[in-house]
């Protein structure tokens, strides 16, 4: 890890804030979806026939979550030592935060898909 040949994702600092990136993306996507539907139904009075803005938003959200999960996956695998990784060392703390972030990325990815699904099946405001 300290041999000077770190990749960019290894140099990123892992903090408590990185942990909440994936679910925050979910929250932003969810809020965006809800406002988009609520405002277009209330103000335009109808459902957008091809909701391209929604598709872009969903793809962006999924990409952001996937990226965050990918970084976390690599960070979690740094400096392989046999598990369990439960020590009070720098690397184990990093591995723990990365692992939790990876899991949260998985959950958030699924949750974004859940939110996106209704648009496939529903096509009006009623």
């Amino acid at each position: 890890m300290k041999d000077g040949h770190e990749k960019w994702h290894e140099r990123l600092k892992v903090t408590l804030w990185t942990l909440i990136v994936p679910p925050t993306v979910w929250a932003a996507h969810f809020l965006f979806s809800y406002l988009w539907a609520a405002i277009s139904c209330a103000k335009a009075g109808r459902f957008a026939t091809f909701p391209w803005l929604f598709v872009i938003g969903t793809v962006l959200a999924l990409a952001a979550i996937a990226l965050s999960g990918w970084i976390a996956w690599h960070q979690e695998r740094m400096a392989q030592t046999p598990p369990p990784h439960e020590k009070g060392t720098d690397i184990d703390r990093l591995r723990f935060l990365a692992k939790s972030t990876l899991l949260l990325a998985g959950l958030s990815f699924v949750a974004v898909l859940f939110t996106a699904l209704p648009v496939v099946f529903l096509g009006d405001c009623l």
């Binding site: 439960e86 020590k87 184990d92 723990f96 939790s100 949750a111 939110t115 209704p118 648009v119 009006d124």
Partner: protein, 840 residues
């Protein structure tokens, strides 16, 4: 002081004597109530919340007795309405949430090896607010003025003063007061978990309970403020006739439902997660192994916290919102089952992989999981909108929510009670009585609530005081009533068990042979919390670290002494728990109690429309708060540093983002900003709901000039404070004072300019929701400008009094955090009020 010195028993005895003297609780009939130590305040808190639970339980029994047979006339409909409203409100606001705070105030310092939480007097203030507000709300039923609009208080029936009495005000103001204490506790707990961990306890070594409490306290910050915003609007409508929820004047009752459920749904998880946290502590103890899947539990806690905010509309599936909106919330409601299931599987896996020691606490834990899972499954059912339309407002929902709350909150708390009683009192509770009580509660809960699924599907609506015999649900209701008495019998046995406790002998130390820090506590109660603050290298130090208990007890770790006769604890860094500083903690004082009394006066006198007296209490509250801060915070220590042992010296004064005060201000402002977002949401909500918002006739108020002037002044106030902070740090104290004075003038001018917009446009807030919400946003922002002026005045006075210097600048650093948020508030208000009417 080296490790070697601690070999001297005389030295250790002297240290213990000094610690004991410093941490000695105040004695005497009256003075003992000035105590602020977490051991004392936490125990009062738990007892008070427990009494409120018993009270709400009795209310439920009266209701069940009324419903036992068809067409019963034990209580009249009016009383019945008061009974169910108070039952729900007390269980939620006076039992479930405060109980989690109370338990955490007791446990958290022990779990973190801290002498106390960072703001002991804030905990005491929270407790007194809770007690006063709780007695005020609960007592109302004895005068036949209890709230009767349901615990959700839906307008317009509750906002129209001709249809609802004083009860609605008592609910709204009394519970707002208690929400203040909840936010205070959240601040205390977040800073406690982030900054008061023992050296070495990195994030990956934190006890699971601390993770959960951190998550739940953050949830409180984002869930409670929207309700506070709703309460503000609600009382404006009731007391001043501002029509936020009155559809005939451009208001909308659905706005209340949104604000209420943005609070109300996360609330369910706010009361569920801390109870699960108790499992996370006791399951490893009785499985005799480390908890499996530590990161998975963090996933579950954080994931649940986020997703639970995307569920609020599932309480509003029957209000006629667009189907696509319902589908989003239905999807989120299904998704939250994933993290919830993960944590349950982690507990099962841990038990499976361990060598289980069967015990009363574990019995409660497993039993409650069984009940909770049934509630979770019916939850998935009602998350599906079409099923919800069928089951909405029937007893099916009553059954679902009681399964969730009894399995997810009440029984885990009893598990925690049996597990942690030896920690609090040094004595074990009776296994036999505990198991008897468990089986009564378990059988009673199923007998009481399972038939409700069926009576609900048969068509029995919620909140009815009786039902006709022809419905054929008399037998189901009789079963429910018998079940409720069986639960009550179980709870009575627990109460008897608790009452017998003082007569029992002391148990051994750490009677369950647990591995976590809290079990360092002695059965012979010592108020100092922990003899010396340990270095942590494992998640279960008592199991894993060699000679751990002996070393702690012999003062071989950090801060084993109190040479200066002050209460102290160690502050560490957020990620890796590196020691940062030693802070002096608040000592016993009347101030928290008196401040709570003064603030209580504001809410209670307003309920009875004694506005001048309430205003006087408000001024008194501010004066008390300033006095409290002046005498107890950012104190300049007599020396810059002190040794904490092992050759480490730590500063006695820190400011900025490393200090607990800065974090407390930041977190409080997050809550404040969330409440403000609730009000701003109101403005834009009206816009989506109404064709003409702002209405043509009123669209020229408040104009563009005054909101922008107010914004400019707020920015001057903000920049003045920031510049003053930098000048002060650069030792240019005179210039710093001048800039702060400029900030005060700008803040006061911003008050005037902010109110001038709606005032000079002659906006009458009683005519329509538009002027009402404009006035509300303007007043909110002006009030913040006023508070900014008070804070800047405080900083100036501190500087002039020599209590703030270039080196000791915590005051101005904390005030600058406030002004960041104030500037943001002013910007959003000015842009909304000034520019949005031009766009809409």
């Amino acid at each position: 002081m080296s490790l070697h010195d601690q070999d001297d028993p005389a030295l250790r005895a002297a240290q213990e004597e000094r610690l004991r003297a410093v941490w000695e609780p105040p004695k005497g009939l009256f003075l003992r109530w000035t105590d602020t130590n977490n051991n004392a305040v936490g125990v009062w808190y738990v007892l008070t919340a427990f009494v409120f639970m018993l009270f709400a339980g009795v209310l439920a029994l009266v209701m069940r007795t009324q419903l036992a047979v068809p067409e019963n006339d034990l209580v009249d409909p009016g009383t019945f309405n008061q009974l169910f409203t108070l039952h729900g409100s007390v269980m939620m606001f006076l039992f479930a949430v405060p109980m989690f705070e109370a338990v955490s105030i007791i446990l958290l310092p022990q779990l973190l090896g801290a002498r106390d939480l960072p703001f002991p007097r804030l905990s005491a203030f929270g407790y007194w607010s809770f007690l006063i507000g709780g007695v005020f709300v609960s007592g109302s039923i004895f005068f036949d003025v209890a709230p009767d609009g349901g615990w959700f208080m839906y307008p317009p029936l509750t906002t129209r003063t001709d249809l609802s009495g004083l009860g609605a005000d008592i609910w709204m103001l009394g519970l707002s007061f208690i929400e203040v204490s909840s936010v205070a506790a959240a601040v205390e707990l977040i800073v406690g978990v982030l900054k008061c961990r023992p050296p070495g306890m990195r994030l990956n070594l934190m006890p699971m309970y601390a993770w959960y409490i951190l998550v739940v306290a953050v949830m409180i910050l984002f869930a409670f403020p929207p309700l506070i915003a709703g309460d503000v609007l609600f009382e404006m409508e009731r007391l001043l006739d501002w029509p936020f929820f009155d559809a005939s004047r451009g208001g909308d009752p659905l706005l209340w439902q949104h604000l209420f459920w943005i609070f109300g749904h996360p609330e369910v998880y706010i009361v569920f997660l801390p109870s699960i946290a108790l499992f996370a502590m006791l399951v490893p103890t009785f499985a005799r192994r480390h908890l499996l899947g530590y990161p998975w539990i963090v996933l579950a806690a954080v994931g649940t916290a986020f997703l639970s905010f995307g569920l609020w509309v599932h309480h509003m599936f029957a209000t006629g919102l667009p189907k696509i909106s319902l589908a989003f919330f239905s999807a989120a409601s299904e998704a939250v089952a994933i993290p919830t299931a993960v944590q349950i599987f982690v507990f099962i896996a841990t038990l499976w992989a361990g060598r289980v020691v069967w015990s009363t606490p574990l019995l409660y834990a497993t039993g409650s999981l069984a009940i909770f899972v049934i509630g979770g499954l019916t939850g998935v059912m009602v998350a599906v909108a079409p099923f919800d339309w069928q089951a909405h407002d029937t007893y099916f929902i009553v059954a679902h929510l009681h399964y969730v709350l009894i399995g997810g909150t009440l029984m885990p708390l009893f598990a925690g009670l049996y597990y942690y009683w030896p920690l609090i009192t040094g004595k074990k509770l009776s296994d036999q009585l505990g198991r008897t009580a468990f089986w009564l509660i378990f059988v009673g809960a199923n007998l009481c609530f399972f038939p409700m699924h069926l009576s609900g599907l048969e068509g029995m609506p919620r909140r009815v005081f009786t039902y006709p015999e022809a419905m054929g649900i008399g037998g189901l209701n009789m079963a429910s009533t018998i079940g409720s008495y069986v639960i009550a019998l179980g709870v009575a046995i627990i109460v008897i068990d608790l009452c017998l406790s003082p007569r029992r002998a002391k148990a051994a130390r750490n009677p369950w042979q647990a591995g976590t820090l809290e079990w360092l506590a002695h059965p012979q109660d010592e108020s100092w919390g922990i003899r010396s603050i340990p270095l942590i290298e494992s998640r279960y130090p008592i199991w894993d670290q060699e000679d751990f208990v002996r070393k702690v007890d012999e003062g071989r770790f950090f801060l084993p002494d109190a040479e200066e006769g002050r209460r102290e604890t160690i502050i560490t860094s957020v990620l890796d728990a590196r020691p940062v500083s030693v802070i002096r903690l608040g000592e016993p004082s009347w101030k928290p109690m008196l401040t709570a009394l003064a603030l209580g006066g504001v809410f209670i006198l307003t309920t009875y429309h004694f506005y001048w007296a309430a205003l006087a209490c408000g001024v008194l509250t501010i004066a008390m708060a300033v006095w409290w801060l002046w005498t107890g915070t950012a104190e300049i220590p007599e020396k810059p540093c002190k040794p904490i042992g092992h050759g480490i010296e730590l500063p006695l004064y820190i400011s900025g983002s490393a200090s607990p005060g800065w974090w407390a201000m930041f977190i409080t402002m997050m809550a404040d900003a969330t409440a403000f977002s609730g009000l701003v949401f109101g403005y834009y909500f009206f816009w989506t709901r109404h064709e003409d918002f702002p209405p043509q006739a009123m669209a020229d108020g408040p104009g563009l000039l005054w909101p922008m002037t107010a914004l400019a002044l707020a920015l001057v106030s903000w920049l003045g404070t920031i510049a003053a902070r930098e000048m002060n740090a650069g030792e240019r104290v005179g210039l710093a004072r001048l800039l702060v004075a400029l900030g005060i003038v700008a803040s006061l001018a911003a008050v005037v300019a902010g109110l001038a917009g709606p005032w000079l446009s002659g906006m009458d807030p009683t005519l329509h929701s538009y002027p009402a919400i404009v006035w509300t946003l303007a007043i909110w922002t002006a009030a913040h400008a006023g508070v900014a002026a008070i804070m800047q005045g405080y900083v100036l006075a501190r500087s002039l009094a020599g209590r703030m210097t270039p080196r000791h600048d915590a005051d101005i650093r904390n005030v600058s955090v406030y002004t960041h948020f104030f500037a943001l508030t002013a910007a959003v208000t000015a842009l909304t009020l000034g520019l949005f009417p031009l766009l809409a």
